[in-house]
Subunit: 555 residues, 2 copies
Amino acid sequence: MDSQEFREAAKASIDHIVDYYENIESHSVVSQVEPGYLRQVLPSSAPQDGESWDLIRRDIDTKIVPGLTHWQSPNFFAFFPCPATYPSILGELYSAAFTGACFNWICSPAVTELETIVLDWLAQLLGLPATYLSSGPTRGGGVMQGTASEAVLTAMVAARDKYLAETLPSPGSVDEEEYEELLMHQRSKLVALGSAACHSSTKKAAKILGVRYLAVPTSSKAGFAMTGPALQGVLQTCKAKGLKPFFLTAALGTTDTCAVDDMGAIGHVLEQWSADFPVAAVDAAAAAATAANGTANGTANGTNGDSNARNSDVNSAPIRKKGEVWVHVDAAYAGSALVTPEAQQAIPGGMRAFGAFYSFNMNMHKWLLTNFDASCLWVTDRRWLEAALSAELHVYRNAYSDGGLVTDYRNWQIPLGRRFRSLKAWFVLRNYGVKGLQAYIRGGVARCEAFAGWLREKEDVFEILTGPVYALTVFRMVGGGGSKDGKDGEELANERTKRLYEEVNASGRIWVTSTVLEGKFAIRFMTANRLTEESHVRAAYELILETAERIMKET
Amino acid sequence: MDSQEFREAAKASIDHIVDYYENIESHSVVSQVEPGYLRQVLPSSAPQDGESWDLIRRDIDTKIVPGLTHWQSPNFFAFFPCPATYPSILGELYSAAFTGACFNWICSPAVTELETIVLDWLAQLLGLPATYLSSGPTRGGGVMQGTASEAVLTAMVAARDKYLAETLPSPGSVDEEEYEELLMHQRSKLVALGSAACHSSTKKAAKILGVRYLAVPTSSKAGFAMTGPALQGVLQTCKAKGLKPFFLTAALGTTDTCAVDDMGAIGHVLEQWSADFPVAAVDAAAAAATAANGTANGTANGTNGDSNARNSDVNSAPIRKKGEVWVHVDAAYAGSALVTPEAQQAIPGGMRAFGAFYSFNMNMHKWLLTNFDASCLWVTDRRWLEAALSAELHVYRNAYSDGGLVTDYRNWQIPLGRRFRSLKAWFVLRNYGVKGLQAYIRGGVARCEAFAGWLREKEDVFEILTGPVYALTVFRMVGGGGSKDGKDGEELANERTKRLYEEVNASGRIWVTSTVLEGKFAIRFMTANRLTEESHVRAAYELILETAERIMKET
């Protein structure tokens, strides 16, 4: 394909894409194909001779589009959204054109520097404490990863190595065999924590690292959020069993219900937990540098004498205790809402609670108008990432890296190479502006409040289990006194809700997802998609109501 | 940005991108900016009001392009290439437009099915044994990941869990404490192997997993490839120390010199190593399923009685031994060359050697005309991935997944969500066709042979250390008898080559990278970029020669 063919093909593709968006409601939201559909219509091997773009292009409409589930449809109320926007698509276009592996600063300085700057912009916008800024008091900063799962694994690796470095003797101070024995024993006692409602990615990261995982129980009484007492209970269990908690995921918006853990209480409980731990150097450089040299050493010296000042100012460096738990905030979806002051004010414990934590993650690709993938991870001390994830080869060396003047993001992540992801984030932040982003977030929230209001008007049919919060309402059908054939109210509610869920999805007109809360089968209804307007929510509600009322009659 | 604005903006962007490619030689290959350049010209926070695309677009030229290192430049001879092509850019464009998280089949069946099909096409094209095909005899198949580093980590996690499942007693058969003790002990003895010349990603993966890493020594005598005797020696060391090798990276093209490990010898040595191990079930389903249930169980029953048939037919299921080493082939760059029969024939031990291995990785984004990221990983038994990486939440459940009819790629990788990466791979394979891909590979190889030929004509100035192989030549300047001021020949060769390296790069006209081989500072010269023609290589050679001759005079 030469330049002229590309000009024509690409411009036709632009029209094709706009047409796709303008007619997106003509498709069933969920693809209706059967498993294996594509193998039946594609050849079994690549062609020997090159094929024209016209031929390929036709296959997009006839073979690919029928197999798509339309995440951009205004009638997509499932999971969380994954919004593509026009400026974001332009970002991907330029990113593809400027392709490079970009693992080092010198491999394209703009890729590194724009990412640092845009993530500072975004951290400020979300109201994160200054400790998360690249220019803040603690060598913090942000990095764009692919997904929240990668972010939690990355944070957990750094947390593990921090814990081992801070709690084991220096490898040189004991003989090798003794050190190995201590390391092996310490590793075997490590435990990562998360709430029972937090995303499976924390458990998966623990499984990958081969460390234990314990869930802090949650219940409907506290809206499925992690509470201080529940965390306290799990810490006591760890103590009793000799387990060493080193990592905790605090959820800002759980997957099922968008519950928000009690950030203030988590900070308070962990401060008590670590009260007797030795205070680490405020500047963790020595420890991290030693750890980076392939040892696990916690001999950094010096303490900050004013221990009363611990975390007293949200924008100053927190006093760190050796061996304290690394708290990672998983705000993958709901974190985007923090661009509005009202969402910041609603955080239990306040935004200042994040000042004592170690990392924070939100996905611009979930609720901030940037297409997948754009997962933003901030840390309060990047040296722990670098200590855990640096791997050197001579071929990557250059004067800038050797001089320590620049950020080499390959040492902040699992992959080596990286895409120019910040370009799309930059386009979106600029093209929408803060006010545009706030308006979008508020629109999704308002639509969900309207939806919940309609459900409440029909309390003989529907029961809201959680929300509306962060544009998500979780509801079910009521079971009343049970059915004539002997099912009790709970059984009947589950049966009805499951039927409702299956039937509205089978219509192809909308897509919703389900969950089970304390045995209650429930429907999640999310209204945050970019193209969704109140009329779509109303139409979906009417489909749901009509179907529910029919089911009520039949059961 | 509305549809009309997008049409105009995107079409202007297409012209902009074509202009960029057509004038790419007008830029210095490596960006000339200083660290921190971008912060000086960007505001310190996101704008409150949205900005027009015209404003944003202007900043691309004035603020971003100067900070780019031009990986697409025909004068980029550094690292390995990262080729963007027009059909590949179209793939990214459509992928962005069709954005979804696509972690399950039902989240967009086309995303899953096209990936499976395209990776079968590619596996056939590369000449991989049928065990790597989704439709092959062993439940193999391919998955697209972001980078080779993710691929090796993913394979290593599966390998670790396989090893533990196959070598530990069933958790139920001993009491919990005893099992924990055994598990802890076994984990602490695990060791991953790679050659001293293999990419740092294997060591990094071992560091992430907290397992030991041992390098098999390499030397110039065997062209920096792993040999059978060297591997044998390391296995004996492991045995003597009680260490348990569970994973080995076999390099098909090392980073420094594109060395190819002796695949046949590796297979042979490991077959001897595992000769006394118990034979595992040919169908590993039971073991993998048990492991997936959160246990580490090696109680799969049944053996294939015909042990003489072990690995005898490259396209039949190999006989697996419990606890045998998982061999992962890292062919990140050079694997693309296997689209030519001559490259397949050059593999030491032949392509059939891969039949006994467990996973194979190559990056289409390195040498197969597909822009970053497009890392293809094939396994011979996907159930080990699923056992190690599955994490369930109710919200992801659906009838198709529950029915086991479909592939849910989220269980084959670390991230949950995924992009529609196969689209660009499909466009490239079709638009170029097999012949087009072969012609491209052969062009890069031929240009490098020409370059090496010119170096050989000047043996009073240059010495080739390795290659040309896979479009890479590694060379240095000669040191002769040393310098007048007392440096010996080796010192002088290093000093000269380092100067040559720095001076040709400082010109901005070309970019090369360096390495150190057995103390010899050397320049890597890679000729595989898409836009590189023989005239570019010749011009680069002349710059190198002219600079080298001046250095010879001055030293």
